[in-house]
């Protein structure tokens, strides 16, 4: 009886393992070669490329788990159904209630897998300088030269030149319901076009004038919440030329769905000439803007809807309200 049981056991477990192994290898290979290279959001930047690799890697680990459970379930449905002609009586005895080997190996395997994934994720996060995610006002994983460039961006002498390996500081200002961009290294001009040089480390400084938004440059794989009165910094390195989409990915009110625009990555020389010509063309407009800063006081009576129900503007703001100096169009 005992012998028969153990043969049965080996027989079932062997069947399941063989099916699982074959299917897992096939599916993983298919995924790696057919799907892997096309996993969104592509390879336009270092963060996109890194996160694409991470996603693919997780898929390669997850697919065998999915297949394992599905094969097991399918096997159970097929073989251990009461309707099957000649269905065996269910297993009984202490082994039906507990099985030390099965339990311990399950716990050990899942724990090792999970700890490995946490370690893997942490390493990938650190070596990719935050993976394109918003690190708040005091980023801790930064590309070389970023801290210096960020500090310099607040001074009037900030500058950037092509092929200098400098970090380009871009400010993303979100408000209901649009994004605008300021370039502190080019006099702090503001524009609705996001143009970036290729092969350059970019520091996105994301802030909001009203509610919480989220700056999601899809193909660049950069995502950082835009919080009022907070600077949220995210880094990436541009790799390829092309255009990309920017969307708001944090619900910000009625027209959240329409809060998108597009940008492009161009060669360093093309970027330089665009930035210089825009700086000149926008000079008058820039003079009307508040001096470049990491955050701006929200318009207490405008876009944010007013925090005082009587309609009065915040009376004690010492900082001028963003855009208040600009004359009406």
């Amino acid at each position: 009886m005992a012998n028969e049981n153990s043969t049965n056991e080996t027989h079932h477990l062997r069947n399941i393992t063989v099916i699982w192994l074959i299917l897992s290898v096939i599916v993983d290979l298919l995924f790696w070669f057919l799907v892997g290279p096309h996993v969104p959001p592509g390879t336009m930047t270092s963060s996109a490329k890194g996160n694409q690799f991470d996603f693919t890697f997780l898929c390669l680990m997850a697919l065998p788990v999915l297949i394992g459970v599905w094969v097991y379930m399918g096997y159970a449905i097929r073989i251990w159904s009461a309707k099957r002609p000649g269905a065996e009586e269910p297993m009984t005895g202490p082994n039906a209630r507990t099985n030390k080997t099965a339990q311990v190996s399950w716990i050990v395997i899942t724990s090792v897998a999970v700890l490995f994934l946490a370690g893997f994720g942490t390493v990938e996060l650190v070596i990719s300088q935050g993976s394109g995610g918003g690190e708040g006002p005091n980023p801790i994983w930064t590309p070389p030269g970023a801290t210096k460039a960020e500090a310099a961006a607040l001074t009037p002498k900030a500058s950037w030149s092509a092929n200098s390996n400098q970090v380009l500081t871009v400010q993303v200002i979100a408000q209901q319901w649009k994004f605008t961009y300021r370039y502190p290294q080019f006099g702090g001009f503001e524009t609705t076009q996001l143009v970036l040089p290729a092969n350059t480390n970019i520091a996105f400084n994301v802030t909001s004038l009203d509610v919480i938004h989220s700056f999601w440059a899809y193909q660049l794989d950069v995502k950082a919440d835009a919080n009022p009165q907070q600077n949220d910094v995210a880094f990436t390195q541009t790799k390829q030329l092309g255009s990309f989409t920017v969307r708001c990915s944090e619900l910000c009110g009625i027209w959240h769905g329409t809060m998108f625009n597009s940008g492009k990555v161009v060669s360093e020389a093309a970027f330089m000439s665009w930035a210089q010509s825009t700086e000149q063309a926008n000079a008058q407009n820039t003079a009307d803007l508040p001096p470049f800063a990491w955050t701006y006081v929200p318009d207490a009576n405008g876009a944010a809807g007013g925090y005082y129900t009587d309609g009065n503007v915040t009376p004690y703001s010492t900082v001028e309200i963003y855009g208040s100096k600009q004359s009406a169009p």
Binding site: D54, H256, G257
Partner: protein
């Protein structure tokens, strides 16, 4: 070990007071219309609303929300608060505490006869369970209709059915109502009905608090529904400030709605936890407690400990909107991050409030249909407690891209991935129980298998989301939307349906129709997956959540998802038809134990007498001795020799 003598001797007073008691019945306890019931509750709610609105306008007449509009947040808030009080007063929930406060002896609640007990303040846990079924279905179908509206709008990226304004309010209302429903969908109906029956108790520890939790749950429905006539709220169910501060009066309904629902959640959790700990029958040691009861104990702990944070957070927001405090207003010294932290500090345990009861149902049902003992019982119980504990340490994974302190990210990535270890135990338990079983694929079993299928996808995609680098790609998009629908709908709702098909014969004495049940199951499973699986791809291709317009190239996938969603909606109509047909139109009497379960709840009479057990059973062993020859009987009912196992288990132990 944990034998408690007290409940064995105690009998609910109300249960033994005959209707013709010589004690003078107060008017509120009389049968008939001249007493307290749903009608007086509605009257109380209306009067409370009118009074509160008047009071608000009186004390804060200058505070119009929009100049000259007559809309006043203080009036709106007070109206809803007094409406809730009026509702509770009208139904009789406050009779006892008010009488005690003024030092009078409070009347005992009489359990009414006939169907009218279902529209009264009933302290019978079985009545409350049935009331909750109607209550959660009300939430579910309201939220479901809103979901249909969302999918209708997303049929086309450029042609719009709703305005952007209406759309965002539909999305917000859908999310909030569904989340509120999900907190109670298993704990409320099945938890309240079954816990005393499964642990061998005659009642809940706090029957009045139990009844209160139900009636305040319905008050919560009225409050959150009032957001629509108030003009809706634009924040989604997450209610982030400062959008919350900026929003119109519908936001008051959201903030107060969560506070009111929170009251019910705390009450329900407290009652269930105390009942399970103290009211177990003699011999019901911790290693004999049914696994469903374990899951409810873990859930109850979360309800009791996590909900106060939501309650306080909601009231802070309400004060910001009415009394002009600045908890969440950055300019005045508050912080929008405070809301994010408070909300998710509650919000992540909340996710497990929605998952654990589903695991419990699956663990309870699978042995019955496998005819095998539950595999690794102790691991299952430990897993549930482990999930409950860990769930308090993961909330910042919702804020990975928020700009909150980045050095915490590796830690929260680690804790989040660690929680998949105890969550994975339920798969070990399920797969171990299936091993060399003799599986009967009845409708409840099919739902349990579907939970494994769906929750596996939901759980694995959760690991993707917890990986900070991958989170950059998938946060805030349709990927995460699909992930939590797979866990909450694919896990919890499927488990609830399985539980309903399984226990309704006990609760009502009527069988659900099997053919319709099969149609319901297969349509729900297939169209659920066809609706939500494409959303993973939609999310990866860059569609953010809560948008009414999207990239043109995503229309094909969105349309596929929408059409599937309509058919998924239709599968719920199949359920409704089955429910009405089997329960009311053409009821078929259920056998005493239609699934040959060994559970204690099946060993009392159907319909369950109001005192549940004639004598409190003495529990001899655990309820999972399926397929074991010569196994000991589950319990000694004190009425002769215990019934042999495996025979039709109700005979000989039936107290009726």
């Amino acid at each position: 070990m944990t034998i408690s003598a007290e409940p064995t001797t105690e009998v609910v007073t109300s249960a033994v007071v005959p209707p013709s008691s010589p004690v003078k019945t107060p008017w509120s306890q009389r049968s008939g219309w001249l007493s307290q019931h749903l009608g007086t509750a509605i009257v109380g709610a209306v009067l409370g609303y009118v009074f509160g609105h008047w009071l608000g306008n009186y004390v804060a007449s200058g505070y119009t929300y929009i100049a000259n509009s007559g809309q006043n947040s203080i009036a709106d808030a007070l109206a809803l608060i007094f409406m809730t009080f009026g509702w509770l007063l009208g139904i009789g929930a406050l009779n006892y505490p008010l009488a005690k406060i003024v030092g009078r002896s409070a009347p005992e609640e009489v359990i009414a006869k006939g169907w009218t007990k279902y529209v009264r303040y009933s302290t019978d846990h079985k009545v409350v369970g049935m009331q909750y079924i109607v209550g959660v279905l009300l939430f579910l179908f309201t939220g479901g209709l809103l979901a249909m509206a969302i999918r209708t709008e997303l049929l086309n990226p450029t042609t719009h059915v709703f305005s952007a304004d209406t759309y965002i309010k539909i999305v917000s209302e859908h999310g909030t109502i569904m989340m509120m429903m999900a907190t109670s969908i298993i704990v409320g109906p099945l938890g309240n009905y079954l816990v005393p029956l499964m642990i061998g108790a005659r009642r809940m520890a706090f029957p009045r608090i139990e009844a209160f939790s139900f009636w305040v749950f319905i008050a919560g429905y009225m409050v959150i529904f009032s957001a629509l006539p108030y003009g809706g709220f634009p924040t989604g169910w997450t209610g982030y400030a400062p959008l919350q501060t900026q929003a119109g009066p519908g936001m008051v309904s959201y903030l107060l709605g969560f506070a009111v629902i929170g009251l019910g959640m705390m009450a329900a959790g407290f009652n269930i936890a105390v009942t399970i700990i103290n009211y177990r029958a003699p011999g019901m040691t911790w290693s004999r407690v049914p696994i469903f009861v374990w899951s409810l104990l873990a859930t109850a702990a979360l309800l009791t400990l996590a909900t106060p944070v939501l309650f306080a957070g909601g009231l802070f927001g309400l004060l910001d909107k009415t009394a002009q405090t600045a908890f969440y207003v950055t300019e005045h010294g508050g912080s929008s991050f405070l809301w994010e932290n408070l909300f998710w500090f509650f919000g992540h345990p909340e996710v497990y409030i929605m998952a654990l009861p589903g695991f419990g149902i699956v663990g309870e049902l699978i042995p019955v249909f496998c005819r095998k003992p539950l595999f690794a019982y102790k691991v299952a119980a430990a897993g549930m407690i482990g999930v409950a504990l860990l769930s308090f340490f993961v909330w910042q994974h919702h804020l990975f891209q928020s700009g909150i302190n980045p050095d915490m990210r590796p830690l929260f990535m680690l804790t989040t991935e660690l929680i998949s270890i105890p969550t994975g135990f339920i798969f070990l338990v399920g797969m171990g129980t299936l091993y060399r079983a003799k599986i009967r694929f009845e409708v409840p079993m099919l739902f349990c298998m579907a939970v494994f299928f769906n929750f596996l996808i939901g759980g694995i995609t959760g690991v993707f989301l917890s990986d900070v680098p991958v989170n950059v790609t998938v946060h805030g998009g349709f990927f995460v939307l699909s992930h939590f629908h797979y866990t909450i709908m694919g896990g919890l709702l499927f488990a609830f349906m399985g539980g309903l098909y399984y226990w309704l014969p006990k609760m009502t004495g009527r069988m659900m129709n099997k053919k319709l049940g099969l149609v319901h199951f297969w349509t729900m499973l297939v169209f659920f997956n066809l609706t939500f699986f494409p959303m993973f791809i939609i999310g990866l291709l860059g569609q953010p959540r809560r948008v009414f317009t999207y990239a043109k190239n995503l229309q094909g996938l969105n349309d596929f998802s929408s059409v599937s969603a309509f058919l998924l909606g239709a599968s719920f109509l199949v359920f409704l038809v089955n429910f009405m047909w089997s329960m009311y139109i053409n009821p078929v009497m259920a056998p005493a134990n239609p699934w040959d379960s060994l559970g204690l709840e099946w060993q009392t009479a159907t319909p369950v007498p109001s005192y549940n057990f004639e004598r409190i059973p003495v529990i001899m062993t655990d309820p999972y001795h399926y397929g074991e020859v010569g196994a000991p009987a589950l319990a000694d009912f004190g009425d002769g020799p215990p019934a042999p196992l495996g025979s039709s288990s109700t005979t000989g132990s039936d107290p009726a």
